[in-house]
């Protein structure tokens, strides 16, 4: 999950979630950074609205299996 956490830190600071920035954060935590995962993460996040995803998480009680519609 460290790659995801790194992306979320950047999201909080308002920095761009790109390969360089992610790598910097992970490097600083002495993660043995795999370039491919960084690339894949950037690509995967391209069309994702992080704020929205976070809000939805907050809307659902964590731990509780939400009843499917």
């Amino acid at each position: 999950m460290e790659y995801v956490y790194a992306a979320l830190i950047l999201n909080e600071t308002g920095a761009e979630i790109n390969e360089d920035n992610l790598t910097n954060v992970l490097d600083a935590a002495e993660v043995d950074v795999e370039e491919s995962r960084v690339k894949a993460l950037v690509a995967a996040l391209e069309d994702v609205d992080i704020e929205e995803a976070v809000e939805q998480a907050a809307a659902v009680p964590a731990g509780g299996a939400a009843a499917p519609a």
Binding site: M1, Y3, V4, Y5, L8, R37, A40, L41, A43, A44, L45, E46, D47, V48, I50, E52, A53, V54, Q56, A57, A58, V60, A62
Partner: protein
Amino acid sequence: MSAERKTETIPQWKKEEVDDLVETLGEYDSVGIVDITGIPSRQLQKMRANLHGTAELRVSRNTLMHRALDEVQDGLEDLEQYIGGQVGLIGTNDNPFALYKQLEASKTAAPINAGEVAPNDIVIPEGDTGMDPGQFVGELQAVGAEARIQEGSIQVMADSTVLEAGETVDDQLANVLGELGIEPKEVGLDLRAVFADGVLFEPEELELDVEEYQADIEAAVAGARNLSINAVYPTAQTVSALLGKGAGEAKSVGLQAAIEDEELMPDLISKADGQVRALAAQIDDPEALPEELQD
């Protein structure tokens, strides 16, 4: 052969009656003996009319019915043991279970008279009798009902069995039941036995627990679904569940491995956010937390 011999020993009208009964019996897949004790003939006519189209009821002398069943043989002679008292022959091409159900459904409640034997336990039900306080409360108590005066009327406090099946109704009880309008008898054609396609059924075998069958069907369907899914044998009904299962498995693996997949991202972000909140919840010092994570 035997029929020939019997015709010599009985009057012509009896012979004709037996022949007629034999002919009737031959028309039906299922033949039964029904108890018609205590049914007035006019009511019997009505019942006969109601059965029209599904079953035929024939009432004759017991000896002639014996003779007819004996003559047909084919197992129908097994029904002879059920002839006794006031009975009739009933024939149907319906399923015997359906016949039983129809007969049971057509039974009506009737009052019971003094001197009659209770066919089942007689119960005076709990509740307000609606009767004004008076000596009737004593009569109720005398027959064994838990009665008392409450809120201005006579009330029965609990279901009270006042006579057990097989016991004889006395004047006092008949009177009380009459006052209450309780009709403990079920009057109607009472099936004693049915012979259907080689199988003899008694009433207890004919009473179906439909709910149990329904439950069996549900269990069978559910079991088949389980097997189909667990053995990964897709059918039109289960392939959706299998696809869902596969997708769910991929999602679970994807989330656990934090796979960088576009589809998983919203959930991974949610997961991370949930973890942050869960961790923050363990932290007491507000100084350590940003505003949005403080309680």
